[in-house]
Symmetry: D2
Subunit: 207 residues, 4 copies
């Protein structure tokens, strides 16, 4: 019974992850009370995102690109001569790159797997990840000495890390070092609420 | 450090009510993985909403209108000859009209106050509500016999209802009946968790 | 591996409704750090409760009784000559009596059904409620004119209320009035979040 | 208005950590519906805990002791000849000992600081912790080679760990090694939600 333009807007918002019809309606009614200018800005932001983004042809990070789509693009990190090219950090998604960059403790390269294959560990899903590209990339580079598998410490992340580690060992010369992020107490962890595995790792990794 | 088109999109989503930067980023990364077609649909839904919506000139419900904006528009309820024109239900916002319509128990008219004045009960806020229009509307109609003040049962809703009731009594002939929604147990209420006021009303309104 | 007296204490706390092992441990470790005096007070409170409580033989409220358990006891409300003996309010449990008393709007009598039968609506459960006593009590009293069925507005409460209403109609003279608590907006209800049934009742019960 | 024995019981439960009056009432009404036998068991568990618990005179763990309170008691870990006496793990409370024991990866000794001083880092609070006993204990033992400060990874835990580390360095010979639990990804951590400090530690501690 709502006017069609509102219902359409609600339907669009409902497609966003973890947005229910109630929240979508709140978003839609909020928007239609904004000025035409604000709404046009919002629409433009969406259209720009659909037009002006591409992936780095080396590490698969999402990058801005305003021109011809047929060229090969490199992201600011892959292009940067100051970055340490002997080490490459494999992450699941772009926001993970942000997280590692924000630590200020890492100056190497990245390789973004892409999220599509991560929810369920099935063969077709795995094949959507940029793993073949990763192996080719490492084989082509004499500089890379260490590969950090920086997946999350979840069941899915651990399964994926194991799979990647085996794949790399099978396909790469033995002198490439394969590492994983250290386990232990995260900020805020209290001993009595920690799982045994993490506490074990924290004990072994004491220093 | 994120590409500008993504950051812009995140910024737009952050403006939506109760969306933080983390959720906005999730929305933005979800969107940029959709097809260009889907993104264009989203943008179009926003632009349509900015162009093709107007308010009913009588009850201030939001309605679709594709044409000349200078005309006076009437919504489907105000235009409907089957609706009972002797009774008018004052609500805070369009979604409240939806809620009352969904009961299937009301066949009268509505008057939407608009939300802008409701959060803080100050004089300028109150003047943004469509209250003068309401009084004029009722004065102009010989048919209206009952006015239901259907504000929420919150402190703000009660304060507003009191204010409106006094305003109507001062400005309208005494033969117009002014009513409020009944108070009592809502579905799911348990006696031991109810506030005293509601339980008092439930006792007085027993039947 | 915990010392047995602590483990015993944890086990006891785990029996309390919605207390998990973690919270039970917190309770136990909190307690053992208290003075011996405080712990003795706690133990005494439990023993007193097991010894000095009984039920009102008329309305089944829980009452204090220090003496001979063979006597028939009456609670302060049943004994009070100021209470209105023409009206009786049927509630599920003692805390519901508290809730109704706290409104200050009810001066009649009560009848506590007991909770044991309420979770699942099965025949043996229903027979644990003080319903036969209720019918006998009303039949024996010429004074009672109205019976308020004050169950909660939950599915269980509504089912039980229906069952009781039918039982009373079958067993009592037609001149006894049977009522239920009024339905409508509870304090804090917002129109757009209300279920249709409650909003319907609020519309019908407007005043 | 509730009978005094119930009110007393509610008051006792309200003293437990994070139990409000509503939950306390639920506990009390649950209890009074139990058999006299069950209630006596509960009371006995409390009294036993007040009588039959003591602290290990070496590590301050809580232990069971049924006899003469003037003797010095040793807990099962301190007495166990199989435990590695070259390493001592400093924890805040008894449940932390449980947590470390449950990993099955630690065979050394413990020292329980006691919780009283941990909430606020003030001088009198710190003096309630068993720190002087700790220094004396380490000084008296030629066997101890490593001291693990296993406080939680919270602000309070970190502050306390720093304080203890300085205290130990000032008071102990330099050949005693002082370590802390390793930091990094806890089970369940996702990269994009991790704080920078933890992710930094996880990068540095990769292996």
């Amino acid at each position: 019974m709502l006017p069609k333009p509102i219902q359409n807007l609600i339907d669009q918002f409902t497609k966003l992850p973890s947005v229910g019809p109630r929240q979508a309606a709140r978003f839609a009614f909020y928007l239609i009370k904004q000025s035409k200018l604000n709404l046009d800005d919002f629409a433009k932001a969406i259209i720009d995102a659909s037009k002006n983004l591409n992936q780095c042809s080396l590490c698969f990070r999402i990058i801005e690109c305003q021109n011809d789509k047929k060229n090969k693009y490199l992201c600011s990190i892959c292009k940067n001569p100051q970055r340490d090219k002997s080490i490459i950090c494999i992450v699941e998604k772009d926001t993970d790159v942000e997280a590692v960059e924000n630590t200020g403790r890492y100056n190497g390269l990245y390789h973004v797997l892409g999220e599509s294959g991560l929810k369920e560990f099935s063969k077709p899903n795995i094949e959507n990840l940029h793993l073949k590209d990763l192996i080719k990339r490492i084989k082509n580079s004499h500089e890379i000495k260490e590969i950090i598998i920086a997946t999350s410490a979840t069941t899915e992340g651990d399964t994926l890390a194991l799979y990647i580690a085996q794949l790399l060992k099978k396909n790469l010369p033995a002198n490439k070092q394969i590492t994983r992020l250290g386990r232990g107490l995260s900020t805020g962890s209290e001993l009595e609420y920690m799982d045994e595995e993490t506490l074990s790792q924290a004990l072994l990794g004491r220093k």
